[in-house]
Amino acid sequence: MVQQDLLTEEIIWKALQEVKDPEIPPVSMVEMGMIHKVSIENGNVAVQVLPTFVGCPALDIMRKAIVQQVQAVDSVQKVTVDFIFEPAWSSDRISEQGREKLREFGIAPPPLHHKAGELWKVDCPYCGSPYTTMDNLFGPAACRSILYCKHCKNPFEALKPI
């Protein structure tokens, strides 16, 4: 009994902090706002995850990474990962820390409180200039776009606001 009491949600959240976005290694899934809920029952841990894009091909990799990380925590018996769509993930869920790390990685974070249907203004993550142009709405992943900074002449990516 005593041993099981040691296992807390806080410990699991801390472990999840080490699970990185497979395509953006400096940023964790927690910082991306993708972990909705953690619950523990008799040493069995259930993690609810909100996918960024429904069609994201990285979901399976994420599931494995979460299971591997949480399974390594003391007293954890079984780990289940469920992808859920209610509430829907929104780019507003990315934490301030996550946004800063995205910028450092060269990806412009999405604007907060974006309204569907409006085009968004993107500042260059390298030099901060607003003098940028959209090269391609779809980058190497569906969730990202490719832009070009006319000020510092760097191409860069931006996460789409959704």
């Binding site: 894009f53 429904v54 069609g55 994201c56 091909p57 769509f85 209610e86 829907a88 993930w89 569907a116 249907g117 090269d135 391609n136 709405l137 779809f138 980058g139 190497p140 992943a141 569906a142 490719i146 789409k160 959704i162």
Partner: protein
Amino acid sequence: MVEGIRIATAEEAKGNEQYLTALQELLFQLADDDFVLAHRGSEWLGLAPHIEEDVAFSSISQDTMGHSVMFYEMLEELGAGRADDLAHLRSPDEFRNAILVERANGEGHYMEDPQYDWAYAIVRFYLYELFKLVRLESLHRSSYQPLAVIAKKMMTELRYHLYHWQVWMEHLANGSEESHKRMEQALEKVWTDVADLYTFGPKGKEMVRFGLIEGEELLAQRWLEKARQALESYGFTWLGKPEPMQSSGRAGQHTGDMARAVATLSEVYRLDPAANW
């Protein structure tokens, strides 16, 4: 519509046989439309007009394929069989996709001498995704809650697909006389198949009765209004309401293109169901 019907889980849906049958039929249409069109999109890889477009088109196709996976997984939950098997082991006449999405990209084969038609690709994807938006808006009010939830999420992604196709529509409609003419030809070709999109097939009445989706005519109207506005803004002559089709993919009637697509899609899975990639 049956007033106030609301089904929260797969288990609950399984408790009503008529409801279940109609729901499964609808999900097959949704899954198969996305699955087959995503395949057609993927055949363009390396052949799009420039490398940036290759990247964009592949992302869109992958996302669309992901949507079909969601629908197949919902079918699996409803006891229709394993999602992978549903995608790979059915015969062509068991597919419920519209004929529009199965048409080959053009003459030739992607491995050898592909004479693909870019104008057709743009017009087909644009009009299909425009219809998909109308359909998802309706599904967002579906009596089957898991479907309503996922529809809302997919809509946010679909808007980006549409932005992308709109840029191409604008570009090719106003590019040159040649591009405009080719787009008109593509439009005429798409128009002969397009009515199949808003046909719900033999179980259509039950789908509407159970509040799974709104009626064919309603969806057709909404889509036609959007399509007319857009096409006229690009300077195309409105072709009028599309003729109903002689045979329908919703009833399992398909073309030879479909049989070849299914053979290609399922080749690896049939050889080795445990293959991993």
